[in-house]
């Protein structure tokens, strides 16, 4: 019997799991995918928002501002790359300049520090590639960037290091709610827990329905992105937003913490978890990017992808115990700024909601520090050589584009949460994330996965059952 079962291995589930692991509790994470972080937490903008966007008084506003303040320390403890690059909301007309004034006002009321309206000259100085049609901007100094899957994986890994149990391929199919919860997966696994936290993202409505909670509806909004080579990473220094209009927020242009340039997302309603990219969508991203900046280096595209943001019909986060059943906590509708809010939501859920149902005592052995998965290339020559002396496999480069070593890949395959497939290795180590997109290193990575798990290459998958990378031996 677990004290708490968290459903959904995304950034929210991960943050809650980690917070729970700082207490003396028996906890587990139920993830439907073959790996953690395979839903919207892996395919979003990776922005640490300042907090001027959300309406005053909403949970979004509250947790955004709190989360923004917590993020630098949170990321540092978990060995996750975070950069306080600042955001710019760019105006293209006098009318939009007025909107920026309103945004700034709203930000101040939300408690955001460091907001400043800047003129065209200052904007051009900050971002030389900005369109000449841009007339000014709202500078948010507390805006930042982070790698969302790195953050999620690190939170979950750290929680596991502190005693949490992970169940993958656990798609919650049935819940018997009595004194405790009996949770069944579609493939026959069963877990029993006193408390359940529903962080199932796009699937959270379905999970809530299993205990008879029909209080909210989840919709999906697909966002398509284009990623550019690191050579173009310096094209923009800040995260550049369009001024929000009635038609929506438009796309953003942002550097990433790994030095790439990100364009996107689009926003269109989808009626299932459809992460296909579309010709029209990708073209619109490029068109919008060219409105924002001059000379967007689209020749340097290395990949495109899409994520589905689960949003709720209440248009705010729902973070509360279900009215239907005590001990069942919904953490749903966590769309943007969910990533930024994650650390603050986790504290609130554990310390304010779960604490009312179960006595929390500090885990004396809790260690909130986790070593990063991606680290080797950042070391000095001396540090590298010390590691190679102990483990020569760190001297063998597997991914030439991102310069990832065999040692790092084996480490990702063996430490919490263990990568088990090609995409899992990629998200942890960046092997395959570079300009050749795994063309050279994938067979090598597949070999390592096979070797560590004691199987042949034809058992290795891209991202779980049915995605085997080869169909069989030729002979």
């Amino acid at each position: 019997m677990f004290d708490v079962a968290v459903i959904g291995g995304g950034v929210i589930g991960g943050a809650i799991l980690r917070k729970l692991s700082s207490y003396n509790l028996k906890i587990c994470l139920l993830e439907k995918g073959n790996d953690v972080c395979v839903g919207q937490s892996k395919a979003n903008s990776g922005i640490v928002h300042a907090g001027f966007d959300a309406s005053v008084g909403t949970l979004k506003a509250k947790f955004n501002v709190l989360g923004n303040a917590m993020m630098p320390k949170y990321a540092r403890e978990l060995g996750v790359k975070y950069e306080n690059n600042g955001s710019l909301v760019v105006a293209f007309s006098d009318e939009e300049m007025i909107t920026l004034g309103e945004l700034k006002e709203r930000g101040i009321r939300n408690g955001v520090q460091g907001l400043e309206i800047i003129d065209q000259a200052k904007l051009r100085e900050l971002e030389p590639n900005i369109s000449p049609n841009a007339v000014g901007a709202l500078l948010a100094k507390t805006g930042g960037i982070i790698c969302p899957y790195e953050l999620t994986i690190a939170s979950i890994g750290n929680a596991m290091d502190n005693g949490a149990t992970l169940f993958t391929n656990f798609e919650v199919d049935k819940i018997n709610a009595g004194d405790s919860f009996e949770i069944y997966s579609a493939n026959g696994q069963k877990v029993q827990s006193k408390i359940v936290v529903n962080c199932a993202g796009y699937g959270s409505q379905k999970v809530a329905n299993l205990i008879g909670d029909y209080s909210f509806t989840i919709g999906g909004r697909r966002g398509e992105y284009i990623l550019l080579d690191r050579e173009s990473g310096g094209f923009a220094k800040h995260t550049l937003f369009f001024t929000p209009t009635k038609k929506g927020k438009g796309i953003l242009i942002s550097p990433t913490v790994d030095g790439n340039l990100l364009l996107g997302p689009t926003a269109d309603e989808v009626d299932f978890n459809n992460t296909d990219t579309t010709q029209i969508g990708l073209q619109s991203v490029i068109d919008k990017a060219n409105e924002m900046c001059v000379g967007v280096p689209t020749y340097n595209v290395i990949t495109s992808f899409a994520g589905v943001r689960a949003y709720c019909d209440k248009h705010d986060f729902i973070i509360e115990e279900s009215n239907v059943k005590n001990g069942f906590i919904n953490c749903v509708g966590i769309e943007s700024p969910g990533l930024t809010s994650a650390p603050a939501i986790a504290e609130y859920v554990v310390d304010e909601i779960i604490s009312k149902r179960i006595t929390l005592t500090k885990n004396p052995n809790f260690n909130g520090v986790r070593k990063p998965d991606y680290f080797f290339s950042k070391l000095t020559v001396e540090e590298k050589n010390e590691i190679i002396k102990k483990d020569p496999s760190y001297g063998r480069i597997v991914c030439r584009c991102e310069r990832i070593t065999e040692g790092e890949i084996v480490r990702a395959l063996t430490q919490n949460p263990r990568a088990t497939d090609i995409d899992g290795v990629k998200r942890r180590t960046r092997a395959g994330m570079g300009r050749c997109q795994g063309g050279f290193c994938q067979p090598y990575v597949a070999d390592l996965i096979a070797k560590v798990n004691g199987v042949t290459i034809d058992k290795v998958t891209k991202n779980g059952k049915g995605s085997e990378i080869v169909v069989g031996e030729t002979k």
Binding site: D276, T277, K465
Partner: protein
């Protein structure tokens, strides 16, 4: 830090030939740095034949061709470091490399030869819409799985791009029991060699769709099918022309890109056309003492020409190591009408000997002339029955022409 006469980055066909040539031209210490655990580079997975016809007057497979050069390297006192990746190259020709035995280490070359080869353009670079599922590979990756690892990536295949690797893989996968349903080429002509259309596609009744591209990839965990569309003159898909092919595998053979990240970091000037270094006729780059050859310089159709170019670079590097930098008297070679690029981009009039200009046409032209002009005068004209973008062409300028050059030289095709 150990100093070598010539340090060669890459032990594929270019690096091997450059090493042998540098050694034979008098370089006393030659080092090859190779990231793989064997020499030979991409030739090891190119198990098909057709290599060596120009050079050895026989049709060899890739591994056989590589073996000839590997044996030549082994016969000589050429140092080889395998499983060694070069991390950085500086303008002063210091090379930072890493391997399991030595960790991160530094060597310097009096001369350095860039022979890193190229990589394939990926699906991502084309922005093809659809899911990101298993079963999508670049042709070279599939080739590695099939020929080196012995595993079949899929059973029902559609190939985008008619580059040679794609054509070769169409045949290869067919031989190993897969069904190749189509090869789609966005251009009105194939980008591969004609012989490969015949022996890789026609032999097995594999249809080639010119002016077609893949506009969507479907699938949940693995590819289940592709949507193919006809394209107009501007390569834009024509609405309503779509048709669908169920398949479990999509291979991309859509071009090769020289791997010049090290060159860029060192400050070597690159050509936006070739994506390789700008070089003189001796294959010296904009940084004196750094040379480039093979597919890192320009993507070749034939390995025979890679070897030829590498030998030139090897000899030049060896001379440089011995004699140091010499003053240049430089003219530019400029690609004009109907020509994509000319290489070398610069001619140093102080160097002796004939100069071969390599170039590619930007379209298919029949019964045309290749014209070299200088100072408003035609200095050379060459009749061609046909030129196509997929095949590299050459014209030879004699030393006499070179010495008489006055200002930049242009090359064009006249129909």
């Amino acid at each position: 830090m150990k100093v070598y006469d010539v340090v060669i980055i890459g032990g594929g066909p270019a690096g091997l030939a450059a090493a042998v040539s540098a050694y034979d031209s008098g370089a006393e210490s030659v080092l090859i740095l190779e990231r793989d655990d064997v020499l030979g580079g991409i030739l090891n997975q190119c198990i098909h034949n057709g290599f060596g016809l120009t050079r050895f007057k026989e049709s060899m497979t890739g591994p056989e061709y590589a073996d000839r050069f590997i044996k030549e390297v082994r016969k000589r006192n050429i140092e080889v470091k395998l499983k060694t990746t070069v991390l950085d190259l500086c303008e002063d020709k210091t090379v930072t490399a890493i391997n399991e035995r030595e960790g991160v280490f530094f060597v310097r070359g009096k001369a350095v030869i860039l022979a890193m080869g190229c990589r394939e353009r990926s699906r991502g670079a084309l922005n093809v819409a659809g899911t990101r599922v298993a079963g999508v590979y670049s042709a070279g990756t599939a080739q590695k799985y099939v020929n080196v690892k012995g595993f079949l990536p899929g059973k029902n295949v559609v190939i985008l791009g008619s580059g040679d690797i794609g054509l070769i893989m169409a045949r290869r996968m067919t031989l190993e029991g897969a069904k190749v349903h189509a090869v789609c080429e966005i251009m009105p002509h194939s980008s591969g060699l004609k012989r490969n259309i015949v022996q890789c596609l026609n032999d097995f009744d594999i249809p080639l769709y010119l002016n077609h591209t893949i506009t969507r990839i479907d699938g949940d965990a693995r590819v289940t099918g592709v949507q193919i569309s006809k394209v107009d003159q501007n390569k834009k898909p024509i609405l309503g022309s779509e048709f669908y092919i169920p398949c479990d595998t999509v291979l991309f053979s859509v071009g090769l890109i020289p791997e010049n990240e090290l060159s860029k970091n060192a400050g070597v000037e690159l050509s936006p056309k070739t994506k390789g270094a700008v070089v003189y006729q001796n294959r010296e780059t904009s940084i004196s003492g750094i040379f480039a050859c093979g597919n890192v310089l320009q993507v070749h159709d034939l390995v025979d020409f890679v070897s030829e170019e590498a030998e030139l670079a090897g000899k030049s590097a060896s001379e440089y190591a011995r004699r140091g930098d010499r003053e240049k008297d430089c003219v530019n070679c400029i690609a004009k009408d109907k020509i994509t690029y000319v290489l070398p981009q610069k001619i140093d009039k102080n160097q002796s000997g004939n100069v071969t200009l390599f170039f590619r046409a930007n379209g298919v032209y029949k019964n045309c002339r290749v014209v070299v002009e200088n100072d408003g005068q035609e200095v050379l004209s060459l009749k061609k029955r046909v030129v196509v973008p997929g095949e590299m062409e050459r014209v030879i300028l004699t030393e006499k022409i070179i010495k008489a050059l006055n200002g930049d030289l242009t090359l064009k095709i006249v129909e």
